[in-house]
């Protein structure tokens, strides 16, 4: 494999090599006494799309990382075409033609498409003849069902294009067995269908075998030939997709665990406008405009869900509303009073925030659970005495209440919040943010990275807040979440709200098109 581009072109022109069967046999892996993967097996048949399903922490990532040589399994082995092989590092996996596309892009943003492809090669010439390399890449691109400009910097590519580049990179490296970790998590539904369709097409032509980690049933049913389901590190099912229904898959994934009772949406007429954003503009970290006149409003007792591909200004919008980023122009008002996100205004207006990755974005990790729960009003009674003193007992009492009501599993109120699990950190943040009078609740990907039970609970708390009359702005990259919670759906694209529809009559395809910036 001295010249990946050339060998690929020849492979594409019909002289495809036989694909190999890859089997992970009875793999077990534990970290510090905690068994993460327990005697799990998986066989990837040549030329198929195989879906690996499971909840967070079910051991999916650990299994593929053992296959890739990131981890060494404690027991079990990898077999390729009936021959046991030792894979000690991702390099070894690559020698076997096994490559992985990570959930987060591993592309170098400040380098071009061509540079990103070349750097991935195992042997590079000492001196690079860019003219020759780029010409070869263009030729390779002609055999692909999609096109990318080799000289374009990666940071200028759309998310879907980046994902295609990741796939192209694996093909360029000569990897015919491709493992993808939640490949569509940052794509619009249309982009996701396009990418998965491409992969499926290439497996049909015998150019590839695909193993993809996912939690989206839609993608499993639409694109996978075979499904393997893990639960708590154990293999619970492995079957052709045709033999499974979404209900059956959900049951297998979650087991007999019953999600916490979920609140129902009370029928109620939306109240008066609470949060109003008019022509809001702001710049991103390198000074480029990222919010280009955002206008919308949220009424009391409704959830306005903002759908959109990540990176279209959602993060910056939340930061402006939270007082973390300055707007360059435009007006935000809460109940007709100007709002700039100062601590005083946040308190008076009753604006609350539930961000994603709460340990990083809404907590001080080394401070205690009780202190973290007190952040919103530690500077006023009952937390203070004699104006400047703080009352430890008040913190403890509030924390104990929160632990009771929100069922936070914590060693003690005085334990550092970083010792809590992700779901419990988000419960603690919920307890803090929903305490007292909540006029506006901003939730940004509040369930990102949480397990099934925690997701159900967080969602039902958000519904409770809405039922109690809060104006809820839900920003989520997960369309399913938007549809499950929203009364009204807004679509954000290119730093603007480009579409708005009542949730009851919303159409996924239509929303996807607006997310992609078409129309």
């Amino acid at each position: 494999m001295t010249d990946p581009a050339a060998s690929l072109v020849s492979a594409a022109s019909g002289q495809a090599l036989a694909l190999r069967r890859v089997t992970a046999e009875r793999m077990t892996k534990s970290f510090g006494g905690n068994v993460v993967l327990d005697d799990a097996s998986l066989t990837l048949e040549p030329g198929t799309v195989h879906a690996l399903l499971g909840e967070n922490g079910a051991g999916k990532s650990t299994l593929v990382k053992c296959i890739m040589g990131f981890y060494q399994a404690d027991s079990g082995r990898l077999v390729v075409d009936g021959v046991p092989v030792a894979v000690k590092s991702p390099r070894d996996a690559q020698r076997l033609g096994i490559g992985m596309v990570y959930q987060h892009f591993t592309l170098v943003e400040n380098m071009t498409v061509a540079e990103n492809l070349l750097i991935a090669r195992s042997e590079l010439p000492r001196l690079i003849d860019w003219k020759k390399e780029i010409a070869k890449l263009r030729e390779l691109m002609r055999t692909m069902p999609f096109q990318l400009d080799p000289e374009k910097p990666v940071r200028k590519l759309a998310a879907g294009e980046k994902q295609k580049l990741e796939i192209l990179k694996q093909l360029y490296l000569g990897n015919r067995v491709m493992i993808l970790d939640e490949p569509t998590s940052v794509l619009t539904p249309d982009e996701a269908d396009e990418v998965l369709g491409l992969l499926r097409g290439m497996t049909r032509e015998g150019r590839l075998s695909v193993l993809m980690i996912t939690h989206k049933f839609r993608e499993v049913l639409g694109f996978a030939d075979h499904v393997t389901i893990l639960r708590r590190g154990k293999l619970v099912a492995s079957a052709p997709t045709a033999e499974l229904t979404p209900e059956k898959m959900a049951e297998l994934m979650v087991g007999s665990e019953v999600p916490a009772a979920s609140s129902t949406r009370e029928e109620r007429e939306p109240g008066s406008v609470v949060l109003e954003v008019d022509q809001l503009q702001a710049d991103d970290d390198i000074g480029l405009p990222v919010l280009c006149g955002v206008t919308f409003s949220v009424r009391a007792g409704e959830i306005a869900g903002v759908a959109g591909v990540s990176g279209n200004g959602q993060d910056e919008l939340v930061e402006v509303l939270a007082g973390q980023r300055e707007a360059t122009s435009g007006v935000v008002s809460v109940r007709n009073r100007a709002y700039r996100g100062t601590r005083r205004e946040i308190h008076q207006a009753g604006v609350r925030l539930l961000p994603e990755a709460p340990l990083r974005n809404a907590c001080v990790a080394v401070m205690s659970l009780a202190e973290n729960i007190g952040f919103r009003d530690f500077d006023r009674p009952p937390f203070t005495f004699a104006r400047f003193g703080l009352r430890a007992s008040a913190f403890k009492k509030r924390a104990e209440q929160a632990i009771m009501t929100y069922q936070i599993r914590a060693p003690a109120p005085g334990a550092p919040i970083s010792q809590l699990s992700g779901g419990n950190v988000q419960r603690a943040v919920l307890a803090r943010e929903l305490h007292g009078n909540v006029a506006v609740l901003i939730a940004a990907n509040p369930c990102f990275g949480l397990d099934f039970a925690a997701v159900a609970e967080i969602r039902s708390r958000i519904l409770d807040a809405r039922n109690a009359g809060a104006a809820v702005l839900l920003i989520s990259a997960d369309l399913e979440e938007i549809f499950a919670l929203s009364d009204r759906i807004l679509v954000m694209s290119g730093g603007k709200m480009v579409f708005e529809t009542p949730a009851a009559t919303a159409n996924v395809r239509e929303i996807g098109r607006y997310m992609a910036g078409h129309e």
Partner: protein, 309 residues
């Protein structure tokens, strides 16, 4: 004095030009070295110490062997050693490159003063210059056009480095490591080793920059030899937005500013001499203020530099 009479006020720009070349040479080498190191995703603030150690060892070796070029080589080798120390220490978990760099700077300066004590008196052979002014009879023009060899080497090196960063395997890997350690690791590259090499190469260049101070201009060894060029070169790399080619221009600009005081003095303007001598520092401050922003990060900045370890 005679030349002054004939050249008049033209002597000032000429003196600034000659001074810019002289003063910019150490800036150029240190900033190219720092640029290389930072491109790999690490900051080495120890280059000031490397510079002074380089100056001392170059002078010592030149004095002992009689060959100034062996002195330059020795300075480079010492600089490589300091770079290796920085690169090695910072590859350990929880070692902060900035903090270690500061320690290394103090160590280098202190060590050079200690070891260099016996070198203050003797006089060592110095580096030569290329007489680009051979065509003229003008003494002042001729001396202004006497360009030191190291400057010429630096002028060739700057575009050479830019080319290497773009067109060689090592350059590509180096930039990848500086932009995303994660991505580089995923491709199987040893991030710490690449950074070690980059820091060693950076140390070599800084050491050579130091040899210029003791072997060409001012051309002797004493404890007041460096006036913070090694530290200012870090500011210069930011100003040059991590481009070797722009490092050259920035060095010339800083050199010109540094030559302002002596140039004015040479035509008899002595009032405010110390003020004019402070020009490079004022320039550093001004550049930092102008190019900084509370809300923007630079696009050209290697992404790994923003991560705190």
């Amino acid at each position: 004095m005679e030349a002054e009479a004939t050249l008049g006020l033209w002597g000032v720009p000429l003196a600034i030009f000659a001074g810019a070349i002289r003063v910019s040479t150490p800036f150029l080498f240190v900033s190219l070295g720092e640029c290389l190191t930072e491109k790999s995703g690490r900051v080495n603030l120890g280059l000031e110490g490397t510079l002074v150690m380089g100056a001392m060892s170059a002078y010592g070796v030149s004095y002992l062997t009689g060959s100034p070029w062996l002195g330059v080589l020795a300075a480079g080798v010492i600089g490589t050693g300091f770079g290796a120390l920085h690169g090695y220490a910072c590859s350990k978990p929880r070692v902060n490159d900035i903090a270690f760099g500061i320690a290394l700077m103090l160590l280098g300066v202190g060590l050079a003063f200690f070891l260099g004590k016996p070198l203050i008196q003797p006089s060592a052979p110095r580096l030569g210059a290329i007489p680009f002014g051979f065509f003229s009879d003008h003494a002042q023009l001729r001396s202004a056009l006497d360009v030191n060899v190291l400057f010429v080497a630096g002028v060739v090196l700057a575009p050479g480095l830019a080319y290497a960063l773009k067109n060689t395997r090592f350059g590509l890997i180096l930039r990848t490591v500086g932009e995303s350690a994660e991505a580089a690791r995923a491709m199987g590259y040893d991030v710490n080793r690449i950074r070690l090499y980059a820091t060693m190469a950076g140390g070599f260049l800084a050491g050579v920059g130091g040899s210029f101070l003791s072997l060409y201009y001012p051309g002797s060894w004493n404890e007041g030899l460096s006036s913070g060029q090694g530290l200012m070169a870090v500011a210069l790399v930011i100003f040059a937005r991590w481009s070797p080619q722009r490092c050259l221009y920035a060095s010339l600009l800083f050199g010109g500013a540094g030559a302002l005081g002596p140039a004015l003095q040479s035509v008899g303007i002595t009032s405010g001499y110390y003020l004019f001598n402070a020009a490079p520092y004022v320039l550093t401050l001004a550049i930092m203020i102008v190019s900084s922003s509370a809300t923007r990060a630079s696009e050209e900045m290697p992404a790994e530099l923003t991560t705190v370890r």
